[in-house]
Amino acid sequence: MSADFLYGIEVVLNGLMAGVLYALVALGFVLIFKASGIFNFAQGVMALFAALTLVGIMEGQVPFAHLINAVFGTNIHHFGWQVPAILAIFLTVLVMIAFAWAVQHFVFRHLVGQEPIILFMATIGLAYFLEGVGDLMWGSSIRTLALGLPQGGSLWVEEMTNGLGGDDFYGFFIDKLDMVATLVALVLVAGLVAFAQYTKQGRAMRAVADDHQAALSVGISLSYIWVLVWSLAGIVALVAGVMWGAKSGVQFSLSLIALKALPVLMLGGFTSIPGAIVGGMIIGVGEKLFEYTIGAPYLGGATENWFAYMLALVFLVFRPQGLFGERIIERV
């Protein structure tokens, strides 16, 4: 096999792994959109907030320290303890569930039956509110996430694949963190699908996605299901935030990963879990491969910023409901 071809494969592999992260963020959108018709603009900020909260808890930071000190004239910043990662993750999940409950209780409960555009506006407000709360709780400096996730290229993969090509090929370079992220994402997605498919609450969630009125009529509480999907979206956001944060630090720009999920949704459809996953992969691989084959050699590089949107746009023109957009069942 020629070295060029093998490097092409490496690009595809790396693209797939980047795609997994895009897919994760898109998945958060799909969960909420399917169950409530709300396009949650705050999904990216939720990922940032979750990652910040995780770091804050792990480092034993006092939440709202600045505020507390300003009001009471104290000077506290840390509790002086470190929280083990597992416990911190568990606590962060609880925080995300509390957030989901608050969103339902203080915002969407009062907006039942409103136009989608109004719900969308509410999530924009929510995004900025959450960003502010994140700042206030944990400060706005760039944080590193010390979860002890492996970093750097995998020597093992490199050595295993070294012999595939000629002298010009040194084996695949694959980031260990990407491998972990992919694995975690796969487990998460499998878990979510199993939950939706085989549990009572998951079934109720799908029922609500199909028909709100009918769900009410059999005694399913919509607000309960909505808290549930926002909690799941919060957990997905946490995972995405952790993976992204481990790569490039926990900082404001993390909330912009939401922008990466948009073309994924355009491609995969807003209501399809498989669509989010496959869409994420296509975007991930597409942008890396485009950069490798055309972008870098001919267009001066940095095509990754816009390629996804271009691809999605072309796609939209031909298949507006997305790749897997839920088939609209048409019969009486």
């Binding site: 039942v112 039956g113 009572k200 079934r203 109720a204 799908r206 029922a207 996605a209 199909d210 028909d211 709100h212 009125q213 009918a214 769900a215 009410l216 009529s217 059999v218 005694g219 399913i220 509480s221 839920e326 069942i329 019969r331 009486v332």
Partner: protein, 271 residues
Amino acid sequence: MPDSKETLLEVNNIEVIYNHVILVLKGVSLNVPKGGITALLGGNGAGKTTTLKAISNLLHSERGEVTKGSVIYRGEPVHHLSPEALVKKGVVQVMEGRHCFEHLTIEENLLTGAYTRRDGGAAVAADLEMVYTYFPRLKERRKSQAGYTSGGEQQMCAIGRALMSRPETILLDEPSMGLAPQLVEEIFTIVKNLNENEGVSFLLAEQNTNVALRFAHQGYILESGRVVMEGPAAELRENPDVKEFYLGMSDEGRKSFRDVRSYRRRKRWLA
């Protein structure tokens, strides 16, 4: 005919307003006796669906509101309860137009009906079998997505789903809608069997007066948000007004609809 005359559900003079301005029910009262089939009849827009939703508390999500009167179930006021709480009390609605969860299979649809139950998987599984014995067709199609089944099968699915909550009372809205006469007959026969064998009481909203009055024990006729006539089904079937306007038969040839109606109505109101 039910022997006991115990009243299960009592609707007292309720008024319903949509969107804060549209007055749709103008004082509707009715009683549903335990163990009976009660028909709620009337033409398009008479307010049948609104009445059922006022009872099951599904109005809220449609921006409708009960502004007067009360709904009493087993002697307890229930109009402040959530639909969920009402299902737990044994009152479940089968909505007009079936409203199956179309991307769920038939069996999953039925299982969602058991959502509020806390009596364990074995009891639910037993009831699933019970539903399949009443609706053998559903058993055949249990792995199909509900959206791809026929209208009749969807109606059966909707009724079966309601049964899965182990209800005492089913509010059944227009089960005949869009179905061939033979299928309507089949569904009403099953309703009758459920009533007789499982002891489920029905409040049945129908435009198809003919079929409804054959299967019901008693009926109410609704016109523009008011009950204009009530009585045992057999009596309503013989009533000349009902015959003429709802059953489409007349002894005296065709007359101007409006004349006759307003005249007779006046008579009815003055009497």
